[in-house]
Point group: C2
Chain length 354, copies 2
């Protein structure tokens, strides 16, 4: 296996942070985007919270009220024996005869910055400017899974915006991680796992994304843009592979890394046994073209913090920092609960592809 | 009811056209986009064909091979008792244990032009330049339901591109309906029912569209663009309404019409009893804002050609020609089989909204 977990893992845990409001508990500090700002390492961490609930017969389904900023949070409580709802997964889905026509979540996410000087020991920033809250109707159930791409002196941040209107891709930008500009919804539902390439190709920005519908199993797509806000020229990149570890769904991870062989992209795949990480190599000039792909996963859930948590058996990477041409540091979520890190040698990853 | 069907209906039937290839039959000439070119009326008709099959135990599932243009067509044949597939709707879906991971169709659509001098009697153009065929991997199961918007001297055409990769929105443009430029996929799956406004608003092109996912019932959204190819600033416009005629899904019809009260959009809605047409009035300066909407449908399937066909009980409108400020001609599909027409007075439609 070409990936080596940090000895310091897990790097961030729910116990590291106080709940943002009375009556809530933190259940996840995970799926962090990663970046460098000056001589510091930064993580943009997804913080998931839920209403405290001691009664297994009840299921609170909270939502943000985004008329104020930071938003307030409200919660309805459903009964677990209510046949109008399906509680079998971590998404609460309406049954066919339910007049409510959209899914709900049992927890709400926002984004918070953590800083490090060595990329291994991170401290959550508790200042108010270091938290990004949902602020519109498309984010009432939370904002999740940020990918940070540095383009020159600016950073663009793609994330999942979740609400009763679906799961969409939103865009933020910043130069200092104190002030953030919002650029609205750049891809409508259902789409997630979007990450922007760190440079233009053929004079256009390029982004991987993952549309989902009932028509086919979710795979990786690519789109292009002149301004990062308006996207077109959508093309298919890669699909789940029947019978393999990534048979059910795949999606891009952190922004691709330029290598002399092509763009190296770490992706997540889910099969019958949970989530793993793979790698795919995309053509330098036409990144819609796959040159090579992991036959076997480059990382599977193995440690306790990857195997047991809010969702068992998940490694999910959306943060990456290139140390130099030879080495990558991956920041990944374990079991939808903690943030962990790992190092790998680019050459080893490339050599593992078929 | 403010809408009056043409006495000439249906305007186009499957019997009006020869199959494009041996072994196929035409089953639909429907869901036509509409436009004016000089002193002629034009329809861009969806022509649906399927392999001839006399054995009810068999279900042919055809596909285009787009390596040549016009494309060739191939067909696999499934057995209706094959438990790997679900044949209960007109889309053939894989069962959970099927290694094939995408839906199939039982028929293939292309687009063909019909001309008229009075807007009521149309003749299909049989010249080769008047047919638009699928020509890439995103169109292997056909191209469907064109919306034509005239912007100055050019026309932009949005349509559904269907393949094993999902149902996406494609864009064509033309000035003469002889030569067409292709602009690729402008919205990834699952999305359809896209139509472009006939003028820029706030210096951007504007488009209605209809994303779908399992998260919520499909509704109308809006997006904006500087160049018609790259789209962003997605916003929600309108949802299905529980307990009403449009409770299951809604989608935009033909391009919106500017009135002094706002943008008038004819949309389709499906509830428990099939498809009907409604109208919605959008704010002139901010068309994401709904000012008024049909309480009751403005048109429901009533005639034999609307109630019986490939899909029973469907009226679906994606073509409209404004005769003058006061009158509209709607071109609509009946029962997913024929093209029909109807006239209405703009004022009557506006007065019917709540």
């Amino acid at each position: 296996m070409p990936i080596e977990r940090f000895a310091e893992n897990p790097l961030l845990c729910p116990a590291d942070i106080e709940p943002s409001r009375d009556g809530f508990e933190v259940i996840g500090t995970f799926n962090a985007g990663a970046f460098r700002l000056g001589d510091r390492y930064g993580l943009l961490v997804r913080v998931a919270e839920r209403p405290v609930n001691d009664d297994p017969a009840l299921v609170p389904v909270p939502a943000f009220d985004t008329r104020s900023y930071p938003p307030t949070a409200t919660s309805e409580t459903l009964r677990r024996d209510d046949t109008l709802w399906d509680f079998s997964t971590c998404v609460v889905s309406p049954a066919k005869n339910n007049p409510v026509q959209h899914c709900r979540l049992t927890n709400l996410s926002h984004l918070r910055i953590a800083w490090s000087t060595d990329g291994r020991r991170f401290i959550l920033d508790r200042s108010s400017g270091s938290t990004i809250w949902p602020d519109n109707q498309f984010e009432r159930f939370g904002i999740e899974d940020a990918r940070v791409t540095q383009i020159g002196g600016a950073y663009c941040i793609t994330y999942s915006a979740v609400s009763d209107r679906g799961i969409c891709v939103g865009l933020l930008s910043t130069t200092d991680f104190r002030l953030f500009a919002r650029h609205g919804i750049i891809l409508p539902h259902e789409n997630k796992d979007a990450c922007v390439f760190p440079e233009k190709i053929d004079d256009e920005y390029v982004m991987l994304h993952r549309p989902s519908s009932g028509w086919c199993r979710p795979g990786m797509w690519i789109a292009r843009s002149h301004d990062l806000t308006h996207w077109g020229r959508h093309e298919f990149v890669a699909a789940p592979r029947p019978g393999r570890w990534d048979s059910r769904r795949i999606g891009a991870g952190p922004p691709p890394v330029r290598t002399k062989d092509g763009w190296l992209e770490i992706y997540h795949g889910a099969g019958d046994d949970g989530y793993g990480l793979g790698a795919v190599l995309l053509d330098t000039d036409n990144p819609a073209r796959v040159i090579a792909r992991s036959r076997e996963p480059v990382m599977l859930p193995e440690t306790d913090y990857e195997r047991h948590g809010f969702v068992d058996n998940v490694v999910f990477c959306n943060g990456l920092i290139q140390e130099n041409d030879a080495e990558l540091r991956l920041y990944y979520g374990g079991a939808d609960t903690v943030t962990a890190g790992a190092a790998c040698i680019v050459r080893d990853l490339l050599d593992s592809l078929e």
